[in-house]
Every structure is written in C-alpha cells, then in structure tokens.
Amino acid sequence: MTRQMTGAEMVVQALTDQGVDTVFGYPGGAVLPIYDAIFQQNGIRHVLVRHEQGAVHAAEGYARSTGKPGVALVTSGPGATNAVTGLTDALLDSIPIVVLTGQVPTFMIGTDGFQEADTIGITRPCTKHNWLVKDTDKLAETLHQAFHIATNGRPGPVLVDIPKDVQFATGAYTPDNQARTSRYQPRLKADLSEINALVDLIEQAERPVFYTGGGVINSGPAASQLLRELVDATGFPVTSTLMGLGAYPASGKNWLGMLGMHGLYEANMAMHDCDLMINIGARFDDRITGRLQDFSPNSKKVHIDIDPSSLNKVIRVDLPVIGDVGHVLEDVLKIWKSRGRKTRTDALPKWQAQIEEWRAIDCLKVKANENGVIRPQYALQRLEALTKDMDRYITTEVGQHQMWAAQYLGFESPNRWMTSGGLGTMGYGFPASIGVQMAHPDSLVINVAGEASWLMNMQELGTAMQYRLPVKQFILNNERLGMVRQWQQLLHGERYSQSWSEALPDFVKLAEAFGAKGILVSDPADLDDAIMEMLNHDGPVLFDCLVEKHENCFPMIPSGKPHNEMLLGDASTKDAIKTDGAVLV
C-alpha cells in the first residue's frame, strides 16, 4: 500500500530514506511548507546559513569530506540564483550535491510572480541534471532519482525545483526501491583488452609516471587504497592534481608532489620527460597541461575516466579506458600480478635517479623571514608542523594561499582536502569548512584563506557561532589580491589595478563582534604560540596572520609555456609571459 503524505512531508521522508542527516539551507516564502515539515521532526539536522551560496558550499564541504551527497535547501528566486555559484563549483569539481529549491505555485509559473525565477532554465547548464516537479505524486520518485544521478557515474550537482502548491498537496509516496533509476547506469568496469593493453605498457615503460586526479577520491577510499598498492608495487612515481591530493600519501616514497601551473619542479619535469603517462581520474585541465603542443611530447598516454566525454577532449591519448577508477585499478593489479609483476627493473633506477636530480633543486625551499615579517610559506610550514599528526581537514579559499597550502601541507588520506579547483571560487573555503565540521564535529577543521577571499562569505561566521562549530580560519593577510597582483606584476607591467585590499576590517574585533575569538600575529617569533592558541581554543577562531605583502607563488609555469619552462623564483620572471600567453588565464 502506498503511503499518502504532503509534498513537504515527502521531502523529509525522501531525504531520510536517502540517509541524509544534515541539510544546509535558508528559508523563504516558497519553501515554507518544507520548513514546517522539518520543524516537526528530529531526524534531519538543518543548518541555517547566512547566504544561500554558503549553503551550497557547505553541502560541498560535507560531501567531499564524507563521500556522501551534500544537501542544500533554498527558496525560489534569489534563493535559487544565489545557489548558482555553488552549483557551478560542484559541477566543475564533480561533487555530488542535491539542491532543493522552492518555486512559485504551478499556476503562477510564467507570470513574473514574486520571487519567481526560471530556476530550471538558469541552472540547466550548471547542474548534471535538474527537474521541475509539477505533480506531488512524482515528487518522491524524482527526489530518489536526483540522489541516484548525483552520486552515480561522474558525480555532480543536481537540482529539484518544487512549486509551493506541490509541497502543500497530498500524494502517494514512492519508496526508493520503486523509483525508476535503471536507465542511468554508467559503465564501471573497463574492457579486458584495455586492461591488458595498460598492463603491457606498465611492463614496458622505462620512464613512467602516474598522474592522478579527483576521480580517485570520488571513486571512494578503496580506490585510493588500490592506487597506493599499484604505485608501491610498481615503484612508479606518482603526481596528482590539486583535486587528487591525499589519494596517495604525501609521505609515500614515490610521491612527486602536485603538478601543474604551481606544481613541483620534479612533478612537471617527470610529466614532460616520461615515456608512459597513466592518467587516473584527472582531465588534462589547462592548469595542468600548459602549452598543449608541447605537452609531454614523447610519452604514450593512458587515460582512465568514468566519463567518456573526458577522453580525447583536450589531449588525444593512446589508450582511453572508460571505467570507474577503483574497478579499473583492481583489474589492472590483478592482471599485472598474474602476469608476474613485471616492470623494466633495468631502466627504472635511471629514471628514479633523474627524478632525484630534479628533486634536489628543492623548488619549495622557503627563504628566511626578513625584517621580522612572516612569509606566507613559512606560516604554512609551521601550521603543517603543528597539526600534521592531528585528525585534520583542510579547506581553502582561492588564490596564492590556496597554492601554498597545496604545496606546503601534506595529505595522507583522501577526503581531507577541500578546495575549489575547477571554478576557482573565492568565498568557497569558509562555508565549506562549516560543512566539513558538521560532518566531523570532533575533528580539526582549518580553512586556509586570504583576507580578500575570506571576506566574500564572512557572514557565515554567524553560522559557525550558532552551531558552535570550532572552525579555524587561518587567514594569510597580505592586504592584496595576491594572485591578481602577481599576474599584474608578471604580465601587466606592474600596474596594480584594483588588486589591493583597502579598508580592511580589524579581524580580531570582527571576530569578537560575532562572539568568536580573534588572534592577530605579525612577528615570526610569535607564530607557533599563536597557532597553538588557535588550536587550543574550543570555538571558531579568526586567525589574522599578517604576511609579506609582495610574495609571489612559485614554481610557476607561465601561461602559454610548456612544463619544462617553469619559473622557479622572482629572478626568472622578466618577460616570462609573452603576448600570446597573456590572453590565457
């Protein structure tokens, strides 16, 4: 017998059936019935954010740190449009989130009603899929389908737009196991011929490199485990994109560090000079490849991806493998082992020696602090030293501090690193840290931020206070839009147009105005004590770390250049970016 209930009750029931324990949201006229249903139950926690963008980023943080879909609930019109940045962010980083929006009642759609927006039209290009539900009888099934689509295949954001009359009306509840989801079943296992071909390449490679990405994380902890096994058994070096950090441990002996525009010298050189590149769940993003014509010119390239459209999109590869990373790695390991665990043991030591030579450049060497001013890299080194053994999650905003965090913090396991990679959303890190802390109440959650990014969603300090979320906001304050300033220095003749932060607040007083703790530190000698004070405080902390204002982020592959033309420091930057590179971002 089907159960009858209102649409609003169906929302709560479907979320419960999907195992949702936390919803990030903000109420408004078009979602009042759903909020009424939430009020009358205790199973699902609702976190009241201070802006809908914050709700979606928090849901992303929750999703990335747990591997479960994150859920946000917002009202129609401005609620929905404020969610757009978060949806796009989740689309580019393949994060499974389900966003529920209220809509004006069905009979008012198209009349330019109060707080009406064409939410489906607006979010069509920034969701994996979206639905407008016009019939209460179809609501439950649609919600179950939404979770299925968000989490299967290449994960991504989905949106369900629910008109207010559909929330009020009564209908039949469709349980999860009766919802039609069978048509969307992406292929998980690759062809045996492809696996064999990949093992052939592994057995014959003289200068191999694994190039891993967010797909390893998205495939689940088992995939990271399999990657570690394959890397350590073959002894091949491994590098990762920004999105994939933690899949292979930073302390692992085959770890090259992050690659790409601000990646490590040894990682990028290995990519350029390798004879076999095995891309596992990465997508040859332009931050990674640099100049396409000169990208790793002498290698055979393998690309493992669950999304067929990623294959041969940017770089044509020799062996595309369609499948889920975990399934593919499992099969590769099985077959490689059954064929005798062969590698070119004659050639690999030479390749390793070459990599050691590159590593000896020590591209991340931090210069000493000068004139009593903290270098941002030094601040992160100290943060790493004082927190690396803790149960720690890191989020970031976007800019120089984000790259430094990726360079100087080490990640030993997956789902510990949340950063806006594809979209590069300033304002992502603070709300994401709230989502992470909700999922992991007893863990240390630090948002590495720049002062400008942090201000973009600073209103969420209210949320952190309301829910007693002890998120640590580690702000590297250079009073600049550091990355913009760096690019202006390198390719716009040092004309620093609008790239400084004027009229900054006193962050300590700002924290105190919300009832949080603020810590100001400017002297390198005080840094360790200040970090310990931050860690020991049971509550949200705004950590205002005044750093060197004109530090540039290196190494750097200038736009339009290949991997082997990296800049290692300020001395090498003169005329580094030519006009044709300047048009790239």
């Binding site: 489906i120 039209g121 069509r124 290009p125 994996k128 899929h129 407008l132 689509i149 048509r183 969307y184 062809d191 011929s193 492809e194 064999n196 071909a197 990949l198 052939d200 390449l201 014959q204 055979k300 999304d307 067929p308 459209s309 294959l311 041969n312 999109k313 044509r316 590869v317 020799d318 062996l319 595309p320 369609i322």
Partner: protein, 187 residues
C-alpha cells in the same frame, strides 16, 4: 591486443578509428539523438551546442514514440573530427538522451527536407515557375491568380537549388523544415 600496436591517437571505442582524429578539416555530420520527450529536453540539447561553441546548421525535432515518450532530434553540425566526437559524447552525457547516432559516420543515410515556397508573378514568369516546379517534382499546394505555393522535398542541396531558381521569378517567402535523416539499409 598488444599495447605497442595501439596507434597513436586511436581510440578503441570510437567510431572514428579509421579517420585521422587530428585532422583539422571541417566535416559536416548529421546526428540523430533519441531523447525522452519531456519539458526542456530541446533546451538541454541546444544549450549544449551554444554553451560549448558548437555549430548547428539544421535542427528538427518531433515525437516518434508516443507511448514511450521518445522524440528524435536530427542535428546537422560541422566541426573537426575531434569536435564531432566531443559533440557526440557530450550529447550522450545528457540524462534524458537515450542514444546518439552519427549517421554520417555510421554509413550511408537518407536525408530529406521539406520546403514551402510562395512565388508571385504573372505572365512568362508565372509559367516558368510552374515549369521549373514540375522539373523539381514540387507540388502546387495553394494558388491565386498572382501566386503559387510550392511544396518540395529532397536533399537540402536540391531545395537550395530550387530557391535559387525561384528568386528571380518572384520568390516572396519560404519555409524549410530542416533535415530529417535515417540510415540506409535494414535495422
């Protein structure tokens, strides 16, 4: 399959193995896209083309299976082989898309378009229009003392040619449906 025999740039799942994937030549392809006939599905397909900068030369859509709510979208597009391959894959990624067929790559196909032409004129021009219409097997579907409305079906090139001939004879208005296409041979 030995790894060493994998040709650079070849793709084991692609229908494009026999063509040079790195070619820069622009090709015209006709795609048949079978979709759920639901609100917004056409917008998803068109949005994909505009959002990713692909060309649409012709587009037709109509329901083909009322019971299963399926529609067939026929898109004529152009691009390099790599772009065409991306279009195919991106279309396949849209959730309500059931199948994508590249009719140009899959073998010979039949393409037809229907055009309606209103041609006004008297005297010799009127007679000439009627004579040419006969040659093109166009049917007269409406007429007044000063005008004919012709209906013509055929390949797009044939309809182009007919339009060119009608222009000096008093072509007032035309409407074209865009291409509908099916692969040749049995199912």
């Amino acid at each position: 399959m030995s790894a060493l025999r994998i040709k650079k740039g070849s793709s084991s799942h692609s229908a494009y193995d026999l063509r040079d994937p790195n070619a820069e030549t622009i090709e015209r392809h006709t795609l048949a896209v079978i979709v759920d006939n639901e609100a917004g599905v056409l917008a998803r397909v068109i949005g994909l083309f505009s959002g990713r900068g692909y060309n649409i030369e012709s587009l037709t859509v109509s329901e083909i299976d009322h019971e299963c709510h399926l529609s067939r979208i026929t898109v004529v597009t152009s691009g390099t082989p790599a772009i065409i391959e991306q279009i195919n894959k991106q279309l396949s990624r849209i959730i309500p898309v059931h199948e994508v067929h590249d009719l140009t790559a899959e073998g010979p196909s039949v393409e037809r378009e229907l055009g309606l032409f209103k041609v006004s004129g008297t005297g010799d021009k009127r007679v000439e229009a009627l004579r040419l219409a006969d040659i093109f097997r166009a049917a007269v579907v409406d007429s007044t003392l000063e005008s004919f409305t012709f209906e013509i079906t055929g390949k797009p090139e044939k309809i182009d040619a007919f339009a060119d001939l009608m222009r000096p004879l008093g072509l007032d208005e035309m409407a074209r449906t865009g291409v509908a296409a099916l692969g040749r041979g049995g199912a």
